[in-house]
């Protein structure tokens, strides 16, 4: 075929956007797609449930839990964190990843997404970053609500003595960081599972099954290697020091390192699996 008469511009190879530009664009699109999604609502409201439960316990039965004159913050924090970390936090991560990936699946948008001038890497990393951000927001909201509940108890349950003791902010900060790390392993595994099966039911089923099985396996000597057990491991890391009050080690525990290893391993393996996958849906 003759190409001489063709306009030069038509046959010049356009330049591809740089990987960073692709990622930025994917992120901007992904953030817009969050509007009015269940994933976003879940993020905003999930932290409220454990706080509300613990707040109610202290509001109605606080006098029976706290001896007069003792610091109420340690038991308040422990109870809240254990309520959240045992079941709610892992389930939250399972639901969040499944819901976020399902936004594309439900819209049959994978074929559309991969037909755009962005690489598969950008799509993969962008959604992962959104997930990580939502997970962080949910945890921060949880901590914020926890502090708010404590403050409210200062006002409405004066006798419990929340106002007479220092708020253990440093411990809360470390707990937030360590809990976040503890969720990363299961987040990555669930992300890959969601991308691989591209359905809502399968990843939620696998995730819930894994969370429940983990609870049954807690006595196992290798339980700290299960990513679904890590948030619980961190939740029970809080301990009471006679001098310092409630404390937590300022370092990562083995189960949190395992969580990081799962995070890295699942993402690398998952990315390789998904990279050349045919897009048929």
């Amino acid at each position: 075929m003759a190409t001489l008469s063709a306009p030069v511009s038509l046959l010049a190879l356009p330049t591809a956007p740089s990987p960073l530009t692709q990622l930025r664009r994917s992120l901007q699109a992904d953030v817009l797609k969050l509007r009015r999604t269940a994933a976003l609502r879940l993020t905003l409201f999930s932290g409220a449930l454990p706080v509300l439960l613990v707040f109610s316990i202290y509001f109605f039965k606080g006098h029976a839990i706290i001896k007069p004159g003792t610091d109420p913050w340690p038991s308040f924090l422990m109870r809240s964190w254990q309520t959240a970390g045992t079941l709610l936090l892992p389930l939250f991560v399972v639901l969040l990843t499944s819901l976020l990936v399902h936004v594309e699946t439900k819209a049959t948008a994978w074929k559309h997404l991969y037909a755009q001038p962005v690489g598969r890497g950008a799509v993969f990393v962008s959604k992962l970053l959104v997930l990580l951000a939502l997970n962080a927001v949910a945890l921060l909201l949880f901590a914020g609500l926890l502090l708010g509940a404590g403050a409210l108890l200062m006002l409405v349950r004066h006798k419990l003595g929340f106002q007479s003791h220092a708020i253990p902010l440093e411990t809360i900060g470390w707990m937030l960081m360590r809990t976040y790390v503890a969720t990363l392993g299961l987040l990555a595994v669930q992300y890959i599972v969601s991308l691989f099966w591209r359905s809502f039911v399968v990843p939620v089923g696998i995730g819930m099954g894994a969370v429940v099985s983990t609870i049954a396996l807690l006595q196992w000597e290798h339980a700290d290697k299960i990513p679904y057990a890590a948030p619980l491991g961190t939740a029970v890391a809080l301990r009471l020091d006679k001098v310092k009050g409630i404390v937590v080690a300022h370092e990562l525990a083995p189960h949190e390192w395992y969580s990081l290893a799962w995070f890295a391993g699942a993402l690398v393996l998952g990315y390789i699996l998904l990279l050349r996958r045919p897009i048929t849906a």
């Binding site: 063709a6 046959l11 797609k33 074929k111 048929t280």
Partner: protein, 309 residues
């Protein structure tokens, strides 16, 4: 095919297997710049698979895809920046408004912000832009999908069955839109369909695929010439059988299709006159003698049926 226009899309020996099941065999697709290429075939012939291969959604088992003269495999992201696509049913986020749906892809492509409103205007959805996509009718959804495909003002548009599920008015609207996109905006369009009637009015080139093989490819006039070759003379008389027996030299090759109807392969005007004279000369009544062109539809069916056998 027009030899002066460069090829915007070309596949060389393109084959695809789904598992062990072969879907496409050595497909030689050639789409010249500035045309509307009607990609035709019955359902399941391999049209959607081909479209997906053209976008790099599937990897060919053998052969390669060239867009704008460059191999897709090596330059996918760069080349896709000049391609807009609508594959089967449009990918719409029901929880977003029409505007937000287009906007999501606009951000993804890095196109300037005012473009969202422009493409909504082109497809006539400006008024409905603020409504959630879940409230859109099928036709509106197709148009919204098309708006998204038009975002980057792509030189090449791939539309897979864009009239699927549309009512007759919707089909006419879509046809008008395609014509306008080619004539006013200079787009090259590949549009697939299983109905030739939907695209014969707009297509400049046609490719017919059957069971994963290209059975015809050429300009629309080429296809029309093909059907001229299949034109026939229809002879109406009293008894077709008697007539043929009386005139074995002239009517031996004729096909009896009814009590008094005969089909003859197309003849020259002189031969036609000879047939008329002979029938009358043999004492048979001649009720009618006319040239009949098969419709494009029949040609299309003939092509796909021939390939089947």
């Amino acid at each position: 095919m027009n030899s002066t226009a460069p090829l915007l899309v070309e596949t060389r020996d393109l084959s695809f297997h789904f598992g062990k099941r072969p879907i496409l065999h050595n497909l030689p697709l050639q789409v010249p710049a500035g045309g509307i290429y009607g990609f035709l075939g019955p359902n399941g012939a391999g049209k959607s698979t081909t479209m997906r291969l053209l976008l790099g959604l599937l990897q060919p088992t053998a052969g390669s895809v060239y867009l704008f003269g460059y191999e897709l495999r090596r330059n996918r992201v760069a080349l896709l920046s000049r391609v807009g696509a609508l594959i089967e049913n449009p990918s719409l986020y029901d929880h977003l408004t029409g505007f937000e749906n287009v906007e999501a892809t606009r951000r993804l492509r890095g196109v300037p912000a005012p473009r969202t409103a422009e493409v909504l205007e082109i497809v006539g959805l400006t008024d409905a832009a603020r409504r959630p996509a879940r409230e859109y009718s099928l036709g509106m959804r197709q148009r919204l999908g098309l708006a998204t495909a038009l975002l980057s003002d792509p030189a090449l548009l791939l539309l897979d069955e864009p009239t699927n599920g549309l009512d007759p008015n919707g089909i006419i609207d879509m046809r008008e839109l395609l014509r306008r996109l080619r004539d006013d905006h200079g787009k090259t369009i590949i549009v697939s369909s299983h109905l030739i009637s939907e695209i014969e009015k707009v297509a400049t080139h046609v490719g017919v695929i059957q069971q994963g093989r290209m059975v015809f490819q050429g300009s629309l006039p080429d296809l029309q010439r093909l059907q001229t070759g299949r034109a026939r003379l229809v002879l109406e008389t009293d008894s077709a059988d008697t007539c043929r027996n009386l005139l074995p030299r002239l009517l031996g090759a004729a096909q009896i299709v009814g009590q008094g109807t005969l089909w003859l392969p197309m003849l020259t005007p002189a031969q036609t006159a000879e047939v008329a004279a002979a029938v009358v000369g043999a004492g048979q009544p001649l009720y009618g003698l006319r040239l009949e062109q098969p419709s494009l539809e029949e040609t299309f069916l003939h092509l796909t049926e021939t390939a089947l056998s």
